[in-house]
Symmetry: C2
Subunit: 297 residues, 2 copies
């Protein structure tokens, strides 16, 4: 493996273990288990999973280091004669038990194909209770990481996130967004620095949210609301999410890919998700994305 | 509307009301509600829904009569210069509360586009407990309906069903199958007769299954197994089902389309679906389709 690839793999593995430790510090009941898997076409990965925790009802932090031949669909997309590729990344989805604690997803990845190499990634938050101060905190952590990369990076990546995590058939975003970026080429070292900062930003962004919300009480209605909104999470992941569909198409590890699905979900016919002011406020933010970070910084 | 179209619409509406009555006869707690919807591009439909029943936890029997311009994707598919279409059909998914009572789906539809007109449809059963005698009954009802249409019809349509309701990423079918057919052209009257018989066959096939299973006791494990297997149902419908994806792409009525999703679902990481002999038997049938009907008749 080239020295640069090794550096990226080291970063990815280190980030996985730091995220898992940071999460475990807030989970009194259990540790994340390690599950390793191999990819028949080349490479494999380690998934760190938790299931049935007191704070984290289900979650996974997955590292993959894979290589081999591009599947035909991607060959077409990249219009490349060389068909081998290398990819590594860390991706995670955490489904807390309490509707007070938002669901979170993040993903930082590096891809090499023929002469090209690029980074991608991002993070987005799916809350079930309005907590504007926490949402501002979440966004501003990524805004800071972006500032070091390019002046307009946060504005662009925030917009890409709102556009990507959108369910057209519902007219709603998946949550209150975050950042999303892909195909970052150009100065490799500088881009890698930005991705490292974004990984760090994830820990700073999410862990305090867990800390401040995990002890809060919640009503039966808030739990029911979470179970229904988790259904929208399932709809997004199975209908639209490129990573999920690509993973399944290329015969990736099914259990690691679908680990992103929430543990318990309700699909009600014509569910009313605006039964009170709190819910109407949240749904308003999903229908029309909000500027959470301070535009001046 | 042409006389033939009217006949088909009459059949579809009549079948809907007979299916709803037959189901209601086994539901002590509530009736199916009627929800009407309009399609912005032309036409609309009536969905008969039940939610929170004692026997039927969630279900819908939907009639649609729609017309208008083909969406661009379908124009490409049909390679036709005329872009208007007419379609009508009845489609249903029933999710019983008890794991003893199998989930069922059926759908009978008629489509006109340019000079062409065809019928499609089918039905498939998703059980959570082995009941080979009931599965044989379910299949043999459709086998009888098929026999009047063509000698090899049941064999072909049974195979198409096993192939269609297959989840490649799980290596499993959705259930124990049934029949599936599409693009039946040729003698319009004869085909219509067959589709009418298939609709009748659905009632004969499923209602006795409900009758024989609705009173059976079940264990906590059987309920848990159902909740996890319902997750596979969601995976099929959102990742692979052409009707669902077509409906969402063409901006159909989201609630009527996604009514097919089960009311309560569990997505466990690395769920073991073969914890006992009963489950192993069922999973065996999903991994390798079985000939349920007597090949001689």
């Amino acid at each position: 493996m080239s020295e640069f690839r090794e550096q990226v793999v080291d970063f990815v593995r280190d980030l996985q273990s730091r995220i898992v430790s940071a999460l475990e510090a807030h989970e009194p009941q259990m540790k994340f288990k390690k599950v390793s898997w191999e990819r028949p076409g080349g490479g494999g990965g380690d998934t760190r999973v938790i299931s049935g925790g007191q704070v984290f009802e289900k979650g996974g932090v997955n590292v993959s280091v894979v290589h081999g031949q591009l599947p035909p669909k991607m060959q077409e997309k990249f219009k490349s004669k060389t068909t081998d590729f290398f990819a590594t990344g860390v991706s995670l989805v955490i489904h807390p038990r309490s509707p007070q604690v938002p669901t979170v997803h993040a993903n930082f990845r590096y891809f090499e194909q023929a002469e090209r190499a690029w980074f991608g990634g991002g993070a987005d938050l799916t809350p079930y209770v309005p907590a504007p101060e926490l949402f501002r905190h979440f966004h501003s952590c990524f805004q800071k990481a972006c500032a070091s990369y390019a002046l307009d990076a946060y504005t662009r990546f925030k917009k890409e996130c709102d556009e990507y995590f959108f369910l057209p058939h519902r007219g709603e975003t998946r949550g209150i967004g975050g950042v999303f970026f892909d195909y970052l080429e150009g100065d490799r070292e500088k881009t890698f620095e930005f991705v490292k900062k974004s990984g760090e930003a994830f820990i700073e962004a999410y862990i305090p949210v867990v800390e401040k919300t995990k002890g809060l009480k919640y009503s039966e209605r808030q739990k029911k609301y979470q179970l229904i909104r988790r259904g929208r999470y399932v709809e997004f992941n199975l209908i639209y999410d490129r990573g999920t569909l690509f993973g399944l198409e290329t015969k990736g590890n099914t259990e690691s890919i679908l680990m992103s699905l929430p543990p318990e979900v309700h699909f009600d016919f014509q569910a009313d998700l605006e039964t009170n002011e709190e819910e109407r406020q949240l749904m308003g933010w999903l229908k029309k994305p909000v500027e959470w970070a301070d535009a001046q910084t």
